[in-house]
């Protein structure tokens, strides 16, 4: 019975792994194929089933008919990381205040203000495109990294506030009171006592911010022209009348690489029990 259970468990894991890994495998093999290789059915084994070619990868690094992916990759990295760090910093401070102090603004209370933050993500992005465009134009920040960072902070901060308010609410208030008694002021209470207890929340919020920031295409496309190109936009520009599957596959692998690294780092942190039981 136990063996059967184990066998079924491993079968389920194997099926799920295949489901998850298969697209990666597909992209990996396709990235080493040429036009001939991608037609005529699925092939997996290089040299035997298809002749490997570096054409796809070459087109990402300044090859004929391709792009140079280094600059957009760097831009994406700068925009995503900067916007995430700023959003998490501001969002965490805002969330702590919303969790611990009482605010009143007109008819609004803390919960309304928290909802106001979250509501920024309820409306479809297209609604924001024109206001953002006009704002950046008046600031002279269109098609620039600072402009994009500014917009991404506006998009990512609601996520940070939303995640962190929940985490701070889960940290017992007795901890604040104890810290005051031990001689902390509100700032040192936050920095030395509450924040270390909400560390798993920071990781989760950071993960969300980086994923959302890195994957965004819409604003990266509408708020830039030629000077500042982010990775998703650069990848789309690879497309032509004949879809270059090999280049697109290679580009897809490049674009997901940072997120795969992030997933491994976070997974290690979470499996160490960082999240479990961190808040009583």
């Amino acid at each position: 019975m136990k063996t059967l259970y184990l066998a079924l468990k491993y079968l389920a894991i194997a099926l799920w792994s295949a489901f998850v890994v298969f697209p990666f495998l597909w992209a990996l093999t396709t990235s080493f194929k040429s036009a001939n290789g991608v037609t005529g059915g699925a092939t997996w084994i290089p040299w035997v089933q298809y002749e490997p070619s570096l054409q796809g990868w070459q087109s990402l690094f300044g090859g004929v008919g391709g792009i140079n992916v280094v600059k957009p990759f760097y831009n994406s990295l700068v925009v995503t990381l900067s916007a995430s760090v700023i959003s998490i910093t501001l969002g965490t401070l805002a969330a702590y205040a919303l969790s611990r102090f009482t605010f009143r603004f007109l008819w609004m209370r803390n919960s309304d203000i928290t909802f106001f933050f979250i509501s920024q993500r309820i409306m479809p992005p297209i609604v924001l495109a024109i206001p953002f465009f006009l704002m950046l134009r008046s600031l002279g920040l269109l098609d620039s990294l600072p402009g994009l960072i500014l917009v991404y902070v506006a998009l990512l901060m609601p996520i940070a506030v939303w995640v962190m308010v929940d985490f701070f609410n889960g940290v017992p208030r007795g901890l604040d009171e104890m810290a005051w008694m031990d001689g902390c002021n509100p700032i040192t209470t936050f920095w030395r006592v509450i924040l270390p207890n909400a560390l798993p929340g920071l990781v989760v919020a950071g993960m969300f911010c980086i994923i959302f920031g890195w994957n965004d295409f819409f604003f990266a496309f509408t708020l830039t022209f030629t000077e500042t190109q982010l990775l998703p936009v650069a990848i789309v520009s690879l497309n032509s009348s004949v879809t270059p599957w090999w280049s697109l596959s290679a580009a897809a692998l490049v674009s997901i690489a940072p997120l795969v690294v992030l997933a491994f780092v976070v997974e290690r942190f979470l499996s160490k029990g960082g999240l479990a039981g961190a808040v009583r």
Binding site: G174, D182, N197
Partner: protein, 347 residues
């Protein structure tokens, strides 16, 4: 260490109810005090006002004659142990103990020496490098206490039902540690509890509260011997004090049909009188008689529930051969009979 004075202190939570009715009280330096009362009687409110977590609606709080009402918690230099152990989960036991000194920018060698000394005193030395979360509930409470003791100039240690979540066998041990610490460090300690045993065994002075009001403050002996109200008589002592409706006849107050009586003081009103005595004060043999309706054992003693005339009462007696239905003769010494008018002690 400080003398704590509460001057005309009162508090209401804004919904109109008085959490704490106006009171004046002085707690001497180095004394042990217990605030005893049912849940919601205002004892935690009083504690939070003293520690500065709550600002009183009226009145002042003075430490050694200095007004601290407007000072915040950190500036009052108070240590508080809460009902649920509060520890800094991200820190080790040693870091937890050192934290109040780190916040006060005490030099590192001094911090190290103090932490080691306090850990040694509380039996936490071998856990100094362990993560605080890994310890048991009673050890966590010791860490909470230790964070207070590590400050040499702490004004008072406030204990807000600190033994509630502790295993019964550890409660005794922890209470003993608290008492020893009080003697050793000469700290003013205030314990909030709804457990009369805890209050009576811990404190020199017990403050009984109900509905936001201090009903009586006195030594455990005073509370037991001369409860100021029928409420205190019922709340303190197990089993509770016997209260019997009485009438005023001539120069005596008596319980009709029970044979229990005492001389009436001068100017005694004629209505709403109650005679009372402790079950422990009844002595075997004598002019009074009652039928045993129930018996329960309490160690070497047994408690007999008696029906005497129309009244029912309880007496404590040495475990013996009494059976339900038997007639038991007893007496209550005159100096143990208390007289109450409208629930308040008269004589």
């Amino acid at each position: 260490m400080a003398e704590i004075r509460l001057a005309k202190l009162a508090h209401s939570y804004g919904n109109g109810t008085n959490a704490l009715k106006p009171l004046d009280m002085t707690w001497r330096d180095g004394g042990t005090y217990a605030l005893l009362g049912p849940s919601g009687c205002g004892k935690s409110t009083m504690l939070n006002i003293i520690s500065g977590l709550l600002k009183p609606s009226e009145g002042r709080v003075l430490f050694d004659g200095q007004d601290v009402t407007d000072k915040d918690t950190g500036a009052r230099n108070i240590a508080q142990v809460f009902q649920v152990p509060v520890i800094y989960r991200s820190m080790t036991v040693g870091e937890n103990l050192a934290f109040p000194l780190v916040c006060r920018r005490v030099p590192t060698p001094r911090i190290k020496a103090r932490v080691e000394a306090i850990a040694e005193r509380l039996g936490l030395s071998r856990h100094l490098n362990s993560r605080a979360v890994a310890l048991t509930a009673d050890q966590k409470q010791l860490i909470s206490l230790g964070r207070g003791l590590v400050r040499e100039d702490v004004s008072a240690v406030l204990l807000d039902e600190p033994l509630t979540v502790i295993d019964p066998q550890m409660k005794f041990e922890l209470r003993k540690i608290l008492k020893d610490i009080n003697r050793e460090f000469r700290l003013t300690m205030v314990l909030v509890t709804h457990d009369q045993n805890e209050a009576l065994t811990f404190a020199d002075t017990v403050v009984v509260m109900n509905h936001g009001e201090v009903i009586q403050a006195g030594t455990p002996q005073e509370l037991f011997e001369r409860p100021a109200t029928t409420h205190v008589g019922t709340f303190i002592g197990s089993p509770a004090m016997n209260f019997l409706p009485a009438v005023h006849e001539g120069d005596r107050v008596l319980v009709p049909g029970a044979g229990l009586s005492r001389t009436a003081p001068a100017d005694l009103p004629t209505t709403d009188l109650t005679l009372a005595f402790r079950p422990e004060h009844a002595v075997a043999g004598g002019p009074l008689a009652g039928t045993v309706t129930r018996i329960w054992f309490e160690g070497a003693d047994q408690v007999l529930a008696l029906s005497v005339g129309d009244a029912s009462l309880r007496i404590r007696a040495v475990a013996g051969a009494e059976t339900v239905g038997a007639i038991v003769r007893f007496d209550v010494p005159q100096d143990c009979l208390r007289l109450y008018h409208q629930g308040r002690l008269v004589a």
